[in-house]
């Protein structure tokens, strides 16, 4: 459908923004050409709005009023000590760190020289030196595709390009840290490429964190393209912990080769407006995915989880479990589409989405969509929304546990069921710590 609509103020600002920074964005002539194509494509698409089914509950045309200046050639100073403060509970996760500040790679803050089996390079440098034939397969410009991804191509400054060698097994997780620092309002676009070679095994964590005292006026567009090779395993996590105002647009585009395993977890707290998109395509038989996540929203925060799982081939398995806690006027959106193509026999898919509503004004919109074109499949989905059980609260309180503590215990237990999906114990502990922080409580000893 191609409806000509008046450009919004934000859409105009995006176009002007691009004009202003195009020359300063990293990249060879080939890359610059891609960027121009992308902004052209965006001009046709505009910001996604509620009349587009996938954006029904998260209307960017209404919600994105202002476009913040792009952080280009940013060199905001950040010390290791400040990095650790920004990382908060994640500082305790033993990992190789690859660090970006305001969308720009910072070699001085990273620590991955001994990550055997992994090749890691900053995208910004690659873009500058790249010729058309190198960059073409990496950056596709979707025609009539996703507007947010199109904007990512136009504005991306940096990101991590990670290649895990075939057969390698990383001893420690890779932690890709994206820090926001400084007092300048900013719009940042980053893109990561993660490629896990045949029979390799790795854990990669993306963290979007803020140095306390930094600007709250922030817009992030982060796209991660993932290819999990034949028989390989990737445990992929994203932690976005902010302070309640930022716009967070995230896309994960994942392909799985035969017999590949992909486990992901996304944690979101304190995001003004978040869209967490995951597009998964099974390209070879025997693939397995386990997608899960937890989100916490209060005030007028809005967190959208949208999944598209494409069972394009037979004998693949998909599991999804997402849990949200909604307080105040917080809003949770869950859209889970599972497509089972005509040939995808023996598909096994299960999906669950649950919300815990702590206030009368909270809202949860849940839309599971199963599109099944094969006949020999097992697919199921469920969705629930509930309040804290008053009988359980009374039970806890009759044992001397004060009301706020009892409520926290119930909320932790609800979210804990999702966090338990994370295999890395240190990461689990960090996520529990974030949850406790959100609840305004000190960690349980």
């Amino acid at each position: 459908m191609n409806v000509a609509v008046m450009k919004t103020k934000a859409e105009q600002a995006i176009a002007e923004n691009f004009e202003a920074v195009a020359e300063k964005l990293p990249g060879s002539a080939a890359v610059k050409a891609r960027r121009s194509q992308a902004i052209g494509a965006f001009s046709g698409l505009g910001l996604p709005h509620r009349r587009i089914e996938e954006w029904k509950y998260t209307d960017l045309r209404v919600n994105v009023k202002d476009v913040l200046p792009s952080a280009i050639n940013d060199a905001t100073p950040l010390t290791i000590a400040e990095l650790l403060v920004a990382l908060g509970p994640l500082a305790h996760v033993d990992a190789h760190r690859v660090v970006f500040v305001n969308g720009h790679y910072r070699a001085d803050l990273g620590d991955f020289s001994d990550a055997a089996g992994a090749m890691i390079a900053p995208l910004g440098e690659l873009l500058s030196g790249a010729s058309e034939d190198v960059i073409a397969p990496m950056i596709s410009t979707p025609e009539g595709g996703d507007a947010v991804e199109t904007l990512n191509t136009a504005f991306m400054t940096d990101g991590a390009v990670v290649t895990i060698e075939g057969g390698a097994s990383l001893a420690k997780p890779l932690l890709l840290v994206f820090v926001r620092a400084g007092t300048q309002a900013q719009s940042v676009a980053v893109r990561n490429f993660l490629s896990v070679g045949e029979k390799a095994s790795a854990e990669i964590i993306e963290a979007h964190v803020v140095l306390p005292g930094s600007t709250h006026d922030a817009q992030l567009n982060a796209l991660t393209e993932v290819a999990v090779g034949k028989g390989a395993t990737l445990r992929h996590a994203k932690v976005a912990a902010d302070e309640g105002k930022a716009l967070h647009l995230s896309n994960w585009d994942v392909t799985l080769a035969a017999d590949a395993t992909y486990r992901s977890f996304q944690f979101s707290a304190g995001l003004g407006l978040a869209r967490n998109n995951q597009n998964i395509i099974f390209e070879g038989e025997g693939g397995k995915i386990d997608l899960s996540g937890a989100y916490l929203a209060r005030h007028a925060e809005h967190i959208d989880t949208t999944l598209v799982v494409d069972h394009a081939v037979p004998r693949c398995e998909s599991r999804e479990l997402f849990k949200g806690v909604l307080d105040g006027r917080g809003r949770g959106v869950f859209q889970g589409k599972i497509i089972v193509r005509p040939d995808a026999q023996k598909t096994d898919g299960k999906q669950m989405s649950q919300a815990l509503m702590l206030s009368e004004d909270a809202e949860f919109d849940s839309k599971p969509e199963l599109e099944i074109y094969a006949d020999d499949v097992v697919c199921g989905h469920g969705t629930t929304s509930a309040q804290l059980d008053p009988d359980l609260l009374f039970y806890c309180r009759s044992r001397g546990i004060p009301e706020n503590e009892a409520r926290a215990l119930m909320i932790e237990s609800f979210i804990g069921e999702a966090i338990d999906k994370v295999e890395n114990e240190q990461l689990r502990d960090a996520l529990t710590a974030y949850t406790m922080q959100w609840l305004g409580r000190s960690p349980r000893g």
Binding site: L392, Y395, C396, S398, R399, I401, L409, M410
Partner: protein, 251 residues
Amino acid sequence: MLEIKNLHVKLEDEGREILKGLSLTVPAGEVHAIMGPNGSGKSTLAYVLAGRDGYEVTGGDILWKGESIIDMEPDERAAKGVFLAFQYPMEIPGVAGLTFLRTALNSVRKKRGEAELTTPAFLKLVKEKGQKLNIDIEMLKRPVNVGFSGGEKKRSEILQMALLEPTLCVLDETDSGLDIDALRIVSEGVNALRDKDRAFVVITHYQRLLNYIVPDKVHVLADGRIQKTGGKELALELEKSGYAEYTHKAA
């Protein structure tokens, strides 16, 4: 000493009066059984003592150690030593038994002005108290009561009671759903807690439990009031003659 004085309670939702001038005194060191037909107000009494929402006290008072507790929150009452063993203990998915016990114990200790227990001290205490009730640590690593049998749930209630060391123990139909072996273990657990400083209110429909937990006094509750008080032999009498006499009187 527990003193319940002319207590009137109605259900907040329905407005129906359940307790209609109930008076009862249980001195420290004694076990008093409350027996009565279904619908007589036994469970309401248990919940009102523990402070559950949904009940409105329209008259009278409940004094525990001389202090009125009717305006206290359930957790305040727990800190004051009130404990209700539930007829149907709740399952709490996602909260490990040990976490729950430790949170409860330290909450109560804090309010009682005692230091919180360290992890080793806590585990030692749980092991020791659990042993007598056939509850091992592995069982407590599982979520609270989830997947437990009826007997396991009641044992876990008594373990909570033993850990929190209440001074007023209210047992609501603790015998329901128990076979003879479980009944014996639970009763032994309760009897081990009998103490000169501790008062027990044992609510039951059947006399059977009172063979194991021998009461000092038995009260018959019907139509929201204590209709008769006697010694342990009153329970045997009721077992023979039933509650017809009292329900008739009430009607």
